[in-house]
Symmetry: D2
Subunit: 341 residues, 4 copies
């Protein structure tokens, strides 16, 4: 950690600071500049609080050099983490997984049908929302546990593992019972109590990036889950909020190489929420695969115009099938493959 002191800091203030750091077991190196003095701290600085140091009126600036995350940090764990989802391996050199399904579960027969079509098209897992985060209290809030049961039936028919979003820790038992990957949604990426709760499980967790969270904050949320003991974290980029309003969000594909460089966790892309427009999904899916993503999660609905939510960003099954076919070609072009059941 590098601490810049204002020129003119009184000697006793400097000594107080040095003493404070040394009693925490850190070694302090000082550089005297023309307009500033600089401390370089050597040792385990992860426990230091930058903001507390910055509160000192003589401190101009504090900069962390080592990343604040450890368990997720590739520097300390060079091998790729591979997450096992009912026998499907996600991450590392494994085939790319394509997950499909509706925004909201709308009933058993609907869910069974869409799962069958997803499987037929080449998807290897299904998604579906039973509890829905909706901006309006007047909008459909999801079928709840009944929705999870519908997905369970669809899994029985197709064998596809289930991804579904958990919004509240008091529903964890239901999710452990029915779901194969528990999704933490973008709006809950910094719901730290929820992160701690899923950190105690060993179920795979799909951690979506918050709509205005930095890559570092996102990794820190993964770190919360891992610090609780659950190492099965899959990261998912779903677009960030920017000034551009043509798309629902701005898909940040540069996170794919960055996450692979900074962490050892698998990363998948959600082009549906990122763009909010089914016409853009094919193009962004192919781009995600070319960029090196370990998977895709795509909204698929038999009849998007009648979907209970997110119709405008859902693919029809035939279109989804075309996308999967094209993904296979791009995967091959970069020396990978798409998972086939």
């Amino acid at each position: 950690m590098i601490i810049t002191l204002k020129k003119g800091a009184p000697e006793h203030e400097i000594n107080k600071l040095i003493h404070q750091f040394e009693t925490q077991g850190l070694q302090v190196n000082m550089i005297t500049g023309q307009n500033f003095n600089v401390f370089g701290l050597v040792g385990d600085t992860a426990k230091l609080d930058e903001k507390r140091i910055q509160a000192n009126e003589w401190v101009e600036n504090v900069q962390r050099i080592a990343a604040p995350y450890k368990l997720s940090n590739r520097m300390f764990h060079p091998e790729d983490t591979v997450v096992d989802v009912n026998g499907i391996q996600v991450g590392g050199e494994n085939p790319i997984v394509i997950i499909g399904g509706p925004c909201s579960v709308e009933g058993e027969s609907m869910m069974v049908e869409v799962a069958e079509k997803v499987k037929e098209a080449g998807g290897c897992m299904m998604r579906g929302g039973a509890y829905k985060p909706r901006t309006s209290p007047y909008a459909f809030q999801g079928m709840g546990e009944e929705g999870l049961i519908c997905m369970d039936k669809a899994r029985a028919k197709t064998g596809l593992p289930i991804v579904s979003e958990l919004m509240s820790a008091d529903k964890i038992d239901e999710f452990v019972k029915y779901v194969d990957i528990i999704q933490i949604g973008a709006r809950n990426m910094q719901n730290f109590d929820l992160l701690k709760a899923v950190g105690k499980l060993d179920k795979p967790i799909l951690l979506k990036r918050g709509l205005a969270n930095t890559i570092e904050e996102w990794i820190m949320s993964a770190e919360y889950i891992m610090a609780g003991g659950n190492k099965n974290v899959i990261l998912c980029e779903r677009g960030i909020r920017t000034f551009e309003k043509y798309t629902r969000n701005t898909l940040d594909l540069s996170v794919v190489p960055i996450i692979k460089q900074k962490t050892h966790l698998p990363i998948i892309i959600d082009p549906s929420h990122a763009t909010g427009d089914w016409k853009l999904i094919e193009s962004m899916s192919l781009a995600a695969i070319a960029a090196g993503a370990d998977g895709l999660i795509i909204e698929v609905h038999q009849n998007p115009e009648c979907a209970w939510s997110d119709g405008q960003q859902s693919l029809k099954p035939e279109k989804f099938k075309q996308v999967v076919e094209k993904c296979k070609k791009v995967a091959e072009a970069i020396g990978r493959s798409v998972y086939e059941g």
Copy 2:
């Protein structure tokens, strides 16, 4: 609601849509343009889902005309809401409230001391965090219930009502017992299960704006609480995330007149989190009051350099007192006053 159809939409598709809207009790008016056709829907469109309509391949665009919120909408409730906090009236023509206190509660004597200094300086309520949302799992997470008990003691000594952040619905009983205003933090602004939970109480709720949420989304979150039956909502702006990195966030003071125009709810400003820098707090506090805010919530700490969190954005009690004095003058200049105990 205005729906734009692509030119060339087949007549049966148009008729299907008209039929669909009419069976929902809406009146459909159609305008034929050069390159588009437009439907104007008259009736209660709040229950319509724009995205579902947009999923229709012939639909170019959907625009809501009426705001999607009702209970919080000034159009349907022209008088200002005034929230009673242990006898202190917040909002409307009432005096401006200034809330002070530490980021984190650090113990009983500390909390009692800071509450006394806040009161002495002219603050009328105290803030303090018992459960802390921290980006890092390795950072101090708050004293928990013990922290609430410390605040309770400080209230007994000073009479100042308590504002504290609730992060998880399973702690509601503690908060109902000890706290006078329950704060929903920026990271939980769209934690809809938490909003529903506090909607069932009648305690005042301080709803902070999410760091990347639009004004409309923020009002919709207030609507969640009000739809549950709790009308005692106070909104709080605490800065939004932008590209600028000199400040922690960008304080958006234009929300003050906008919130007053769109809703009937009180609005207060948090210059501490907005700027992240104690040197900017005085200036932003005065600006907030001049803009018409109903209150301020400011971090105050006896010894910011030793604060367990957020030291760099905390005022020392003497500085806080100066800020309160200056606020009184600006309040007077715009024909208002600051609440005095």
Copy 3:
């Protein structure tokens, strides 16, 4: 155009507005809603100024339905524009062009050498900056005309056409003389006098997206050039400014399908400025091609550590060659090819 009037607008105000629109040759359709009245205007609304209409105190909202651009609008010009650059066709079904070269021209032998290496690696045009937009007045500002002459020499040796940035209209003659594609940089995307100046030429123009400009504003800047008579516009995405600071900018690849849908112009991607980090360029180049881009413009330097600018985002020639090879495979996977000299 759809204009929403507040409920309670007096009849004479409504009639005044209707009259105002009718005298401009527009047909006015009115829909009476519960809380609002709505006018639908039919006719050529491109010349109307939304903001002027919005200035009327009875107007709640104004929404344009038809896009404000015409010459660049695919609706009125369904065939792809193909731009001829010294015999190389850019856009439409033509092979993808890969442009390489240094941020700044640093001398004749350097430029000749890098052009030769770009060509050898599979690039079909060279880039190089002679006039450099630098944030600091103390930074190297480019070699000026001498830089253009160095590029001219490099073209004589290799045959590669030249792309270079024009910052000021008073240098247009130099650029017409030496350069094959005139680049308008991100910071000048809304330098309207410069756009008008290059609109009078028939040279191809590479129009970079401004760092905080919407897609619509970008297309409107292309419209400025085309309205002046120059139809040879190539659009170039180079990343937008967001809250994320790990990358220099956030590359918005969704513009590729959007630009192709809204306009008929070619679109290329600049992964170097978008990411600011050479380690991310390969991944983003492959993604851009998979997304459907018509070309790439990549910074290449023999010795990035000694580059006079932008070293950290430049590829070494060997790495550039690898990227081109991989691009060819991805291009093939989506049914396209990379231009080969």
Copy 4:
């Protein structure tokens, strides 16, 4: 400057770097950490290019400690700069200036009338656009020199100095002849050739912040002008682009104390462009004054509904007068005053 090297950097690479810095007259201090090595450079680092250093593959990170600006830096010039505009002093302890006038000049009698009303209301300078930056090539582009002549006439009648925007260096002579403060607009904040051109004058320059530029970039643009020899720079905040769409831009009032802390230049606020909504101007004007701004620039039009541009954000003269009256009270509350002619 602090340079972080990756652990494992070979000794000869480290020595090469040390040698490179030492030959530039810098003193190099090295700190050996657990996972990184750090260089602290002492000496004049303003001329170093961070990006060039970052291009070295062993460099993890480069951080500047001293600000990259000098002439505008308060550290080296502690006294406030006061800019003289035809005898009106702007900045320092001087009275606050309020500038009013239309977005576009629309003719002589209109301009004379509005200038008279601005003066009567308490404004001390007039604004007016003769050359207009418009997003659309089909929108009104300004009256050009004729517009400047109209303002000249209005100045003859009222004595109010003129502020007007220069878009292109080839019009500088006109501006020197007619205008008292030359405005550089937000879209040209990084039009470096234009900055260099006005840097050669001694006319006061009003430098607006670009809509997505950081405070540091803005100061660097002031530095361009000052480096050319023109020290008469007034900064103007006019809102930045964010995700919020209710307002045209987000007004960042925290720049007022920041600019005063980092630089010695005067800072004024433009609430009209910042909000894009006349109903928000009063509130934001009072807030700006309370925050410590040295002036306001407000759009005023006799008849906003008929304005040739920006009608929705213009005040009528009577409303402008009210705003000025209220500003006087807030100014007094903070110990300042508003300039009176």
